[in-house]
């Protein structure tokens, strides 16, 4: 079960990484660390794509991983820009202190 490395091993690793990232998004208060946890989730997706790409012997999965990385870069840049604007206005980076839209 442990020894020949099959795609299932990679998929279980991807699931574990996804779970860790989801806990980070749901449970942390610091917005910078929430953005880092989103990067962890996107990396879990990439692990799955590459595992199937390797197993099927074609590179379509790697091309999709390139698109995922593109979206991750865009998300990080815009998210950090929003974070800087938020910190300038509210002087806080705690997610549950930014509650103007809550009633």
């Amino acid at each position: 079960m442990l020894y020949p490395i099959t795609p299932t091993h990679y998929l279980v690793l991807g699931a574990a990484l996804l779970a860790i990232g989801t806990i980070g998004v749901l449970a942390r208060r610091n917005i910078v660390i929430i953005l880092m946890a989103i990067e962890l989730i996107l990396n879990a997706v990439n692990i799955n794509l590459i595992a199937f790409s390797h197993h099927l012997g074609q590179v379509h999965g790697q091309v999709f991983a390139i698109f995922v990385i593109t979206v991750a870069v865009a998300e990080a840049a815009v998210g950090l820009g929003i974070l800087i604007a938020l910190f300038r206005n509210r002087e806080t980076v705690q997610a549950d202190e930014i509650n103007l839209l809550k009633w």
Binding site: L56, I66, I69, V73, L83
Partner: protein, 168 residues
């Protein structure tokens, strides 16, 4: 090949250790360093599966680009007060329980269905190096998504500059 198995477990341990440290550290700079460790582990897994181009992209773009951006923002935003405050929101135990339940379900289903992955005999490696193959598929079959990705990046550049400007 036991070498493959050894490196798989090594890189998997590096990845998961870095990930757990990322979401548990109090200091955001330590979190960023742990995330770099985790991303390097993922890059090693890419190399193990002969995705050399994505290995280089992962190192150059993630570790060299995104993480430097994160560190810049951590330095710009004053996080000293945040490090002294409560780190986890009130419903952290609920989040933990839900995520662990979903993880257990995923692992169970993957184990049950692991025989279904024997789709065909592991295919013979195509001609040419990895970069040639990726470029061939990317520029022939995925040309329109490629151009759309460049438009997405342009929009992200403009958006982040406007967001971080002095007068919003």
């Amino acid at each position: 090949m036991w070498v493959d198995a050894f490196f798989f477990y090594l890189f998997a341990a590096v990845t998961l250790t870095g990930a757990v440290l990322t979401i548990t550290r109090r200091n955001a700079v330590h979190s960023a360093m742990s995330l770099i460790l985790s991303l390097i582990g993922v890059a090693g897994l890419f190399l193990l599966q002969r995705a050399e181009f994505l290995f280089a992209v992962q190192i150059v773009l993630y570790v060299g680009g995104i993480m430097v951006l994160f560190l810049f923002v951590i330095m710009l935003v004053n996080l000293d007060q945040a490090a002294r405050m409560r780190q986890f929101s009130g419903q952290w135990w609920l989040a933990l329980a839900c995520v662990l339940a979903i993880l257990a379900e995923m692992v169970y289903v993957l184990n049950r269905g692991s025989r279904a992955f024997q789709l065909a005999a592991p295919a013979t490696a195509p001609e040419g190096g990895n970069v040639e193959q990726v470029a061939d598929v990317l520029f022939k079959q995925y040309l329109v998504p490629f151009e759309l990705a460049s438009i997405l990046l342009l929009a992200a550049i403009v958006g982040s500059v406007i967001m971080a400007r002095k007068r919003v």
